[in-house]
Each structure stands twice: as structure tokens, then as C-alpha cells.
């Protein structure tokens, strides 16, 4: 009989090996799936993992990886701090939307003024928008003990309605022929988040990298980081150590909200360009997966964000080049996450073959 035996300590080797194994397992089973769909599995896998990095048009896809990965990493870093402390912000998507709306609104209010301070003010607006939206579940939790998972999640749907309303009302482009959507910020140089569009560099990419370093230092070198870890691992001990839970909740939700808001602002002022009804495409939810894939570690999140971006971009190439259905790509991405989480078991447990003894 096979039994699972809990390891006294999570295995460090397995912790490093499982992501690699999961990717391999995904390649094998994904390949089988593609073969079942009548496509050459080797070609499909190569298209997804190889072409974006080293294929014929890698000069175009590599920058796109940055564009796709940056918001994921930025949001996931914020979420990971809360997750470590057992504070569950599930509503990053809503904070992302609100940050984009407030940030874009600041920029549009200045239109067409060409001044250096427009963009910095937008950045502040974006962070503030996300922060305020995250403060709602935070204050409700601190004050009334509500569940932050539910409140933050429900606020995503409120934010989506707000987004539709803004696209159709207040922020609608007055020269848009009655169509919904704001002015395109890519046509407004002072309000643009691109540093170097051709290299895929915008301020969101820079912010994501800064956030990774900031989170690493915070968690390893700072008292607050220690409190966060302690609260997650041993809540009672944390209380004895003088950690103020209310302040920690406000901090963790606030910082994740502000980072999600920033991600929204950088996205709307760069790759997306305008506030539209469909502006949000699920970065806030995908970032939850990225945070866990990266094992809530800043560097891990950076790598996980890159991997997710790769499957997105490679998946798109496979769709249009090989005619794979969109759903097959989603299944493939799902497999990756499934194998990662399933193999994670090996980090905490060891498998023993146990001989059945006579009763």
C-alpha cells in the first residue's frame, strides 16, 4: 500500500525540482492532447516554449513577454505579502481596474497639456485608486470582522460596473463618434507609460522589478517583513511578539491594492491605451496563481510571471500558426498549474511503499 508521510521539514530539493518536473509533465501530457487533436505534438510544444524566445520573430515576442509579465509580477508581489500573513486579497482585479480608472482620469483631466508632471500625478492617482479600493475590505475587516475574501472579490464586480459606466459616461472620448471608450493615451505623449515601446519597456516593467527587490528586502531584512512571516506561520507567537493584527491587515491589503492599482495605470497608459468596457482581462486573478507558482517568494514570482507570460504568448502563436483551438491552449495552461500544485505534495510529504500487515 502507498502511504503519504509528512516530512518534518519541507524538502528543499523537491521545492526546487517540482517546477521543472511540472513543466516536463505538462509537455508530455499537453503533447498527448495536441496529438489527439491531430497536430504534431513536438511542433506544438516547440511553438509554445521555443518560438517566443528563439524563433524567427523573437525580436517581436521577447519584448511582448515583458509587457505580458509585468502586470502579473507587480500584482502578485503585493498579493504574496498578504498571503504570507494569511490575509487573502482576492480582489486584485477590482483594484487593478480602479487604479486604471483613477490614473487615466487624472491624465485625461490634463489633456492636452504637455507637462512633465502629468505622468507622475497619474502614477499617484493609480496607486491611490487601487489603495482606496483595497481599504474597503481592510477597514470592514478590522472594524466589523467581515471576511476579506468575500468583500474584496465582490468589489471586483462593482469595479467592472464602474469601468463600463466610465467608458460610456465620464471618460468617454468626446471625439469618439458615440462609441464607448476614452481617448487613447498612446496619442497623448505626456500621459504615456512607455519608456521604449519597441523593447517592450514601460514604467510598469520597471515598477515590477523594483517591487521584487523591495519585497525581498522587506521580507528578509525588515522587522515588518518578519512580522508578516511570523503572523502567517505562528499567529499566537506573533501576538506575543507584539504584532498589531489590525495594522498588519491595513498594510497588507493597502500595499497589494496600491500595486494592483499601479499595474492598472501602467497598462492603461501603455499597452491598452484606453479605458474600455473590456479593459480588464484577468491579470488580477492570474496573479493569484503566479503568486503561488512562485511560492510567495519574490524571485519565484518573477520567474513564475515570466513562465505564465510565455505560455500566453506561445499559446497565441500556436493558435494562429497551427490552428489549435483557444480552448486547447487554456487546457494546456491549466495542466501546468495542476501539475505544479499536485507535485507540490512531494515537497511536504514523502511517498512510502508500505507492506500491509496481517491484522
Amino acid at each position: 500500500m502507498i502511504v503519504l508521510e509528512k516530512r518534518p521539514q519541507p524538502s528543499r530539493n523537491w521545492s526546487l525540482a517540482t517546477p521543472v518536473l511540472a513543466v516536463l509533465a505538462t509537455m508530455i501530457f499537453g503533447g498527448l492532447l495536441f496529438a489527439a487533436l491531430g497536430k504534431n505534438p513536438v511542433e506544438a510544444i516547440r511553438t509554445i516554449f521555443w518560438d517566443p524566445l528563439f524563433g524567427e520573430f523573437a525580436f517581436y515576442y521577447r519584448p511582448q513577454l515583458l509587457v505580458k509579465g509585468a502586470p502579473l509580477v507587480l500584482i502578485a508581489i503585493g498579493l504574496s505579502l498578504g498571503f504570507k500573513a494569511g490575509i487573502w486579497n482576492i480582489g486584485a482585479e477590482g483594484q487593478y481596474i480602479m487604479g486604471a480608472i483613477t490614473g487615466a482620469a487624472v491624465g485625461l483631466a490634463f489633456y492636452p497639456l504637455d507637462a512633465w508632471y502629468v505622468f507622475p500625478l497619474m502614477v499617484l492617482g493609480g496607486a491611490l485608486g487601487g489603495w482606496v479600493w483595497a481599504m474597503i475590505p481592510a477597514i470592514l475587516k478590522v472594524r466589523f470582522g467581515t471576511n476579506e475574501i468575500l468583500v474584496s472579490l465582490m468589489l471586483v464586480y462593482v469595479a467592472e460596473q464602474m469601468l463600463a459606466s466610465m467608458s460610456l459616461g465620464l471618460l468617454r472620448n468626446p471625439e469618439g463618434h458615440g462609441f464607448p471608450g476614452s481617448r487613447n493615451l498612446n496619442d497623448y505623449a505626456a500621459a504615456n507609460s512607455w519608456i521604449h515601446q519597441n523593447a517592450g519597456l514601460h514604467w510598469g516593467v520597471a515598477a515590477a522589478l523594483i517591487a521584487v527587490i523591495f519585497a525581498y528586502v522587506l521580507l528578509n531584512r525588515h522587522m515588518l517583513g518578519f512580522h508578516i512571516r511570523l503572523t502567517g506561520e505562528a499567529p499566537r507567537a506573533a501576538r506575543f511578539a507584539g504584532v498589531n493584527p489590525a495594522r498588519l491587515i491595513l498594510f497588507c491589503l493597502g500595499i497589494s491594492g496600491a500595486l494592483a492599482g499601479l499595474a492598472g495605470l501602467f497598462e492603461v497608459a501603455g499597452p491598452a491605451g484606453q479605458i474600455t468596457i473590456d479593459f480588464n482581462i484577468g491579470y488580477g486573478f492570474t496573479a493569484i496563481i503566479v503568486a503561488f507558482l512562485g511560492r510567495l517568494h519574490p524571485v519565484g514570482i518573477l520567474l513564475a510571471g515570466g513562465l505564465m507570460a510565455l505560455t500566453y504568448i506561445g499559446g497565441e502563436i500556436a493558435q494562429s500558426q497551427l490552428g489549435l483551438p483557444a480552448a486547447a491552449i487554456q487546457v494546456f495552461q491549466g495542466m501546468l498549474l495542476f501539475f505544479l500544485l499536485a507535485l507540490d505534495l512531494l515537497t511536504n510529504f514523502r511517498i512510502r511503499l508500505h507492506k500491509k500487515e496481517a491484522a
Partner: protein, 356 residues
């Protein structure tokens, strides 16, 4: 080197490369907003793609990408097709407008066609169909058939194309039934069977016995079938699997002739950036078989269809006022295309409020 320059060069190299190959093979790309199996709007565009393949055989290769989100990801999807040597790319949804414009700038040698938008360039044409003419026919049926005098309407987004359809349907329904009322629900999606079904159920609960939809799935028809005694109309595609009822007729988009014509022009080198807006007369909009209705309703609907086709009847003929009571069209006056293309108001009599 700047990416634009780089891309242009790459495109030119490809242009040269495919230029040689293109003697016998032209590559045509399609960007879809929904899955090809939606049974509605995207399905119909894909039928157009297949018609192109069948018509040209080995001379043309087609590629497509389905379920492309309207936003930042769209530009990458379009760019990727251009990089991979497409000569002509159709982007088939309104939300692809700005991404198509900026991709077209980067690839001056590739031809682009954007459906239902209004921005054009030397290598970017627009095309659309006068779906609203079909709405006039469906509105007539709806007005004659409703017993509760309540017609439920599921809109995707409050954009001029959809608003135009609501107005056309209302005007036609009111003409045959002055007591008719429209309840409108916005789904904020082109394709989401669950949301569309929810909207349909809500409208049925409000007492509607006719459902009209400007979304792409067959979910509203499924909900109507379950409820019983409710009629629906096929949208974009015939949705024939719900014949004879609840689906009693349909507005069919037939893109095949247009796609074949434009591909031929690219092959001949005569392609030009144009703005096409075809209606029932051109065959771009077709009325699906009318089923399960009383003979006089069927006759009336067919008469409206034929009058529109012959130019005798215009969907928007005065006297008509805007919702707030201000005059829009005088007696006998018809709407100009510019107003129709930017239509963001309801006509008088519709009680719903335009979302803002």
C-alpha cells in the same frame, strides 16, 4: 534600430519572400472575437473564410485566431499574423479598431480590413452590414406576435451598431402595434452563453414573450425553448437548430461574397481602402426562413423585406423624434449614414435609459 523600422523591414523582406511565393499563394488572416463554434457572429465570419478557401483552392492560404480579447492582446494577435506573412487581414469586431489602426501603421505593405469601425488608412479599409434592415423585419414580426406587448432585447454593448438595431426594431414593432414596449438588458459581452441566458430569463420574468438579441450565442433561444410560448430570432447566423420555434426567423450575415471579392482584388493588385456598408439589397444581410408563424405575419414580414431590398422602404423614415422629444426626422425624411454610424440616442417611445 527602431521596432517600426525593424518590423517594416521584416515585413518587406517577407513581402519579397512571399512576393515570390505569392505568385501562387496569398495568405489571408482572420481575427475573431468569439470561438468559431459560437453558432452566431464568429461562426458566420468563419463560413466566409471557408468560402474563400473553397473558392480559391490552392491559390490562397487562410489562418485565423479565435476568442481574441478586445484590448491590449488584440494588437499582438494582429501583428503576429502580419509578421507571419499575411497579405490581407480581416479583424472582425468593433473592439479591434485601435489595435488594427496601429498595426496597419507598422505594416504598410499588408492590407487590413476592420469590421464595424470608422477609422481608415491607405492600407486599412472598413466594412460592415446594415444589420438594422433585418431588425426592421424582425421588429415587424415581434410587434405582430407579442401578446403581452412586452419585447425583451439583449444588447451586447451600447455602441451605435447595437443602438441602431434597437431603434429600427422598435420603430417597426410600434408601427404594427402601438402598445408595444421594449425592455433592454446590456450583457457587456459579445459571447457569454451564461450571461445571455441570465439576461433572457430576467426578460421573460418581466413578462416578455418575444426575445430579440444582439449577442452571438444561441443561449437566449435555449432559454426561450425551455420557457415555452416565446419566440426568438437567429442573430448573425440562422440558428436553424431552434426551428420552427422558438426561432421563427433570423438575420444572417453573409460575408462570403465580400471576402472573396476583396481577396481577388489583393491577388489582382487592385485592392483599395474603401468603406463598405451592405444591406439586404447587396445580399450581405439575409433574412432566414420564416417558420412557425401565422400566414399573415409571414406575408407582412416578407413584404417589408422586399420593400427594403427594392429601396422602397427605409428603416428610419420620418416623422421620428428622439427619446427626449426633440425632432429628428421630418415627415418622409430618411436618416443619413453619418447619424446612423454614430447613433447614440433612442427614438421617442423607448422607455429604457441609455447607460452612461
Amino acid at each position: 534600430m527602431k521596432l517600426t523600422a525593424l518590423l517594416t523591414n521584416a515585413a518587406m523582406v517577407l513581402g519579397l519572400a512571399t512576393g515570390v511565393a505569392a505568385q501562387d499563394k496569398t495568405k489571408v488572416g482572420f481575427i475573431y472575437v468569439g470561438p468559431v463554434g459560437d453558432g452566431g457572429y464568429t461562426y458566420q465570419h468563419d463560413q466566409g473564410r471557408l468560402a474563400v478557401e473553397e473558392h480559391f483552392g490552392d491559390k490562397v492560404e487562410t489562418v485565423y485566431q479565435e476568442s481574441v480579447p478586445e484590448g491590449a492582446d488584440a494588437e499582438r494577435a494582429i501583428t503576429q499574423m502580419a509578421l507571419n506573412g499575411a497579405d490581407l487581414i480581416f479583424t472582425t469586431s468593433f473592439g479591434f479598431m485601435d489595435p488594427t489602426v496601429s498595426t496597419a501603421k507598422k505594416f504598410p505593405n499588408v492590407k487590413f480590413e476592420h469590421a464595424t469601425g470608422f477609422k481608415r488608412a491607405d492600407n486599412l479599409a472598413t466594412y460592415s452590414a446594415r444589420f438594422y434592415e433585418g431588425r426592421t423585419v424582425m421588429g415587424t414580426i415581434a410587434g405582430m406576435m407579442t401578446k403581452t406587448n412586452k419585447i425583451g432585447y439583449i444588447g451586447a454593448y451600447p455602441i451605435p451598431e447595437v443602438v441602431r438595431g434597437i431603434n429600427a426594431a422598435y420603430i417597426a414593432a410600434k408601427k404594427v402595434n402601438p402598445d408595444v414596449e421594449f425592455n433592454i438588458i446590456w450583457a457587456y459581452t459579445w459571447f457569454d452563453p451564461a450571461k445571455e441566458a441570465d439576461a433572457a430569463k430576467a426578460l421573460l420574468e418581466q413578462g416578455a414573450d418575444v426575445l430579440m438579441q444582439h449577442t452571438d450565442s444561441t443561449a437566449p433561444s435555449a432559454a426561450a425553448e425551455k420557457a415555452g410560448n416565446v419566440i426568438t430570432f437567429g442573430q448573425a447566423s440562422d440558428m436553424a437548430e431552434y426551428k420552427p420555434t422558438p426561432r421563427v426567423s433570423s438575420i444572417i450575415d453573409d460575408w462570403s461574397p465580400y471576402y472573396i471579392e476583396r481577396v481577388q482584388q489583393v491577388i489582382d493588385g487592385t485592392w483599395k481602402s474603401t468603406d463598405t456598408w451592405g444591406g439586404i439589397d447587396s445580399g450581405m444581410v439575409a433574412i432566414g426562413e420564416i417558420t412557425g408563424l401565422p400566414e399573415e405575419v409571414k406575408k407582412a414580414a416578407e413584404a417589408i423585406r422586399d420593400q427594403i431590398a427594392s429601396g422602397e422602404l427605409n428603416s428610419f423614415t420620418g416623422p421620428l423624434n428622439r427619446q427626449d422629444g426633440t425632432p429628428w426626422l421630418a415627415e418622409g425624411e430618411t436618416a443619413d449614414d453619418e447619424t446612423l454610424l454614430g447613433m447614440n440616442f433612442y427614438v421617442e417611445g423607448i422607455k429604457a435609459e441609455m447607460p452612461n
